[in-house]
């Protein structure tokens, strides 16, 4: 049975392997230069402090390869799902060859188990190679990146898991649809649907987010309103999943919580105060970039006597 499973897989396997080899070569050729620039330019700049322009310049390097890389890591898993997963059962049902396959001295359970195992194994190996290469290539860029959580599902083992999932999804939809083309189309839709739901609704809730609030001062000038200090993630690579301005008692300002300090101006005006003092109340330990943060931004009425201030509180949840 393994022979048949491999015989039905080997053409696609060769095509996939070939495509991945091309990508590996492209990354292998450009990767060392990227590393060299990082070591010779980005690392030394940290010594003299101002790294902003150096980092920005470095991040612009190889941008014609970075974007495709990112796209590839999103698309490669679903390509496995479309071309290996969807036809796995659908093509047999569609062409009638299941009547040959299922009447040999092999039970259907073993037939599907063997085929799925082989396809998933091969996919995991190829996708693993691809992901390892991309992760290696992207590493210098990731070291200066401050939004790593955006790339979480494009590095290391995550694309491998997505590829294996796409295979399972394709095979399942193929068994239901019984048409290869329908299975392929629904696999694309299903894969991106699941990815969207996972990244938007599942990932932010996998761990309890760290909650933090920081005090901040609102400054009203003739040109507009602004805050003195940027109200962003406490640390680079923090993933802000929620950002609200709340009062000192924890009440969100405005119906939507007012995620920009400017929006609570009306409230402040009602309170009769337009500015206060800025201080960071407490330092926050550097979090794992994959752990989402939920920051609450709080306009805070200070202690009696002292000027009321907007506080961005960051108590650990």
């Amino acid at each position: 049975m393994t022979w048949l499973a491999w015989r039905q897989l080997r053409t696609q396997a060769a095509v996939a392997a070939l495509g991945i080899v091309v990508v590996l070569v492209a990354l292998g050729v450009t990767g060392p230069h990227l590393l060299h620039v990082y070591d010779s330019v980005v690392v030394p700049c940290a010594a003299h402090g101002d790294c902003f322009s150096v980092t920005a310049h470095f991040q612009a390097l190889d941008s014609q390869l970075r974007q495709p890389c990112s796209t590839l890591m999103l698309l490669a898993p679903v390509l496995f799902g479309i071309f290996l997963g969807a036809p796995l059962i659908a093509r047999e049902l569609e062409s009638g060859t299941y009547r040959l396959a299922w009447t040999q001295s092999v039970t259907r359970t073993r037939w599907i188990a063997t085929r799925l195992t082989l396809v998933m194994l091969m996919t995991a190996v190829l996708m693993g190679l691809l992901s390892t290469a991309v992760t290696w290539w992207q590493r210098p860029l990731d070291l200066v990146n401050s939004t790593l959580w955006l790339n979480f599902d494009q590095r290391d083992v995550v694309p491998v898991a997505y590829a294996v999932f796409a295979i399972a999804l394709g095979a399942f939809l193929g068994a239901i649809a019984r048409r290869t083309l329908v299975a392929m189309a629904t696999t694309i839709a299903g894969y991106f649907g699941v990815r969207y739901v996972v990244s938007e609704y599942v990932r932010p809730n996998l761990f309890a987010p760290l909650r933090a609030s920081l005090p901040f001062r609102l400054r009203v000038t003739s040109t507009g309103t602004g805050t003195e200090a940027g109200i962003g993630a406490p640390q680079p690579n923090d993933w802000v999943v929620s950002n609200q301005i709340v009062t000192g008692t924890g009440r969100a300002v405005g119906e939507n919580g007012g995620d920009r300090p400017e929006w609570c101006l009306g409230w402040l005006q009602r309170e009769g105060q337009r500015d206060g003092s800025v201080h960071r109340r407490r330092s926050v330990p550097e979090p794992d970039p994959r752990v989402p943060w939920r920051a609450s931004f709080a306009p805070h009425r200070g202690d009696a006597g002292s000027p009321p201030a907007l506080h961005r509180q960051l108590p650990l949840a």
């Binding site: 049975m1 393994t2 022979w3 048949l4 015989r7 039905q8 062409s95 009638g96 060859t97 299941y98 009547r99 040959l100 299922w102 009447t103 040999q104 001295s105 092999v106 039970t107 259907r108 073993r110």
Partner: protein
């Protein structure tokens, strides 16, 4: 005592609301070449797919060689199946199909399979998708036979073949299995195919079995009665009327009887297999045959 080749009790298969096969109860002893005949859509394929274990019954039960079809690998090894339109992998070569068989069947007879292909003149490197209908059917049969099955199921194996290829296919089938201890169940919508090779008959019409039995017994147990139009009121006694038809000049009956038929009002003739099948299909002996005996009955 060995189990029957095929035994069904109240067997039924439903697709959504339509019953493709309903309430089938019959038993086929081993060692026969069984012809399963019926019009298109009567449920022949459904019955064979149930026997091959490709479908699960919606009602009743089916046992093949005393076991539930496709219950395990050992049961699958005992049954050879030649599907309709010879399902083959179009991209795989003839040789690959034999390898497939060798890898998937413990009792695989590689020598016989290769010998058979050589005999048929099939090039091993040829892709299955490029074979002619007859060659595809032959390759499919070769795979099924090399499993060394105890029961061989063939679903309309010759339906897509021209008359010459039909004759050749059936001839080769019979010569290959001659002397081997194998039961065969073969479906066709043409009585002539069945007549050539089978010794047992099942007539399947409108999802149910109309008659089943050894062909010889069926032929001796059925008679064709010819009478004039005026014999209307003289019903034959002790006979089961299978079909009745009236033409301008005469009345034809097909009857089933266990003993000798004594009907003075009727001219009694022996029946051909085709007439018998047609009678059970409910179409009756509609062919208008001007018999010289027409006047003799009056």
């Amino acid at each position: 005592m060995s189990a029957a080749a095929l035994e069904t009790v109240g067997l039924g298969k439903r697709y959504l609301r339509r019953w493709a096969l309903a309430d089938c109860t019959f038993r086929i002893p081993r060692g026969h070449v069984v012809g399963l005949v019926g019009p298109n859509g009567a449920g022949k394929s459904t019955l064979l797919n149930l026997a091959a274990g490709l479908l699960a019954p919606s009602a009743g039960s089916i046992e093949v060689l005393g076991e539930q079809p496709a219950r395990d690998a050992a049961q699958l090894a005992r049954v050879g199946f030649v599907p309709q339109d010879a399902a083959l992998y179009g991209r795989l070569s003839v040789e690959d199909h034999l390898r497939l068989g060798a890898h998937c069947n413990p009792l695989w007879d590689a020598v016989a399979a290769h010998a058979r292909l050589a005999e048929l003149g099939l090039s091993p490197r040829q892709r299955a998708g490029k074979l002619s209908g007859g060659q595809r059917a032959q390759l499919s049969l070769t795979i099924a036979l090399a499993k060394r099955p105890e029961l061989l199921l063939l679903d309309e194996p010759v339906a897509s073949l021209d008359p010459l290829a039909r004759r050749e296919f059936l001839g080769l089938l019979m010569s290959t299995v001659a002397g081997r201890d194998v039961s065969i169940l073969l479906s066709s919508h043409l009585v002539s195919d069945i007549e050539r090779v089978c010794d047992y008959l099942i007539v399947l019409v409108d999802s149910s079995v109309r008659v089943a039995g050894e062909i010889e017994e069926l032929l001796t147990g059925h008679h064709r009665l010819v009478g004039t139009r005026s014999t209307d009121d003289v019903a034959p006694s002790n006979q089961t009327v299978i079909s009745a038809s009236v033409t301008d000049r005469q009345r034809l009956l097909v009857v089933r009887s266990d003993g000798p038929v004594v009907e003075p009002e009727w001219v009694i003739e022996s029946i051909t297999l085709e007439d018998l099948v047609l009678a059970y299909m409910g179409q009756g002996a509609v062919r208008q045959v001007a018999l010289p005996t027409t006047q003799a009955t009056t």
